[in-house]
Symmetry: C2
Subunit: 134 residues, 2 copies
DNA sequence: TTTCATAATAATAATCATTCCTAATTTTAT
DNA sequence: ATAAAATTAGGAATGATTATTATTATGAAA
């Protein structure tokens, strides 16, 4: 197994990700890190994001749009995706681990984790729709 | 709004999808339909899959691997993805619509639907792992 | 603190799924 | 049958992501 060496870039990626609640894409992360480290390359961002997700330090979110999103909050929690503005919102719901147990009762496999994504209209877009009606 | 015209290809795609429980990718669907309609093009498969998903006649499943998968069963149900063989399995669980209600209580948006994917080891891979231990 | 093995990187090419484009064909309402 | 509009094949284009390679940075051991 490969031993990790310290990397400023990787550290910066995690640090940046921890400041954001909106689950940015690799591209967005790249553009932001570039301000601190102008020479960083997009490939480095992708490589480190994969690595970090693999070792479980961050979480990759695949919500159905064209790009993957990343979340520094590895505590299992559901997400909401707005079908209008495509923003991703963390939902604060009670612990849903019981779903894994429930799933395991329905077949013979081992369940380790789950990803739960809700789709609909976010508070902002809901509000805008209401205003347009009047 | 565009009115749909009848299309043998689109019909064949739906018909094929209904015979499968394994949620094939566009590529797999293409290779199978090709045996009945050798001149069909991959673009046609993609276009029709998008269209069918849009009008709600089929369902697109984005589970985190490189390709989208498709399901003719539009009745909401959770999926299981094996982290070893990557197969997708339908889970037969009790109705989980209450999750949408629960989610709506946690913020101000409108929830229309959800996608629930469990990850772990499928029955076959679990069995294989056991045999290798002995 | 030098040395050295190896991880990490920049830059860029390559890959792969998916979408777009266009001219030709099919469908269907009249 | 006619014509408008949807559908198609074939291939080019796009866009996200991964792979490649030569160079640089890191960290353990001497």
């Amino acid at each position: 197994m490969k031993t990790l060496k310290h990397s400023r870039h990787r550290e910066a990626i995690v640090r940046f990700l921890m400041t954001r609640k909106d689950h940015p894409t690799a591209e967005v992360i790249y553009n932001n890190i570039k301000q601190e480290y102008p020479k960083i390359s997009l490939g480095t961002v992708y490589r480190n994001l994969s690595l970090l997700a693999e070792i479980g330090e961050i979480q990759k979110i695949t919500c159905g749009d064209s790009s993957d999103h990343f979340d520094a909050n590895i505590n299992p929690h559901p997400h909401f995706v707005c079908k209008e503005c495509f923003r991703i919102i963390d939902l604060e719901m009670d612990n849903l681990n019981f779903l894994n147990t429930l799933a395991e009762k329905s077949f013979d496999g081992d369940v380790e984790k789950h990803q739960l994504i809700f789709y609909g209209k976010c508070p902002d877009c809901k509000e805008k729709a209401l205003q347009n009606q009047q």
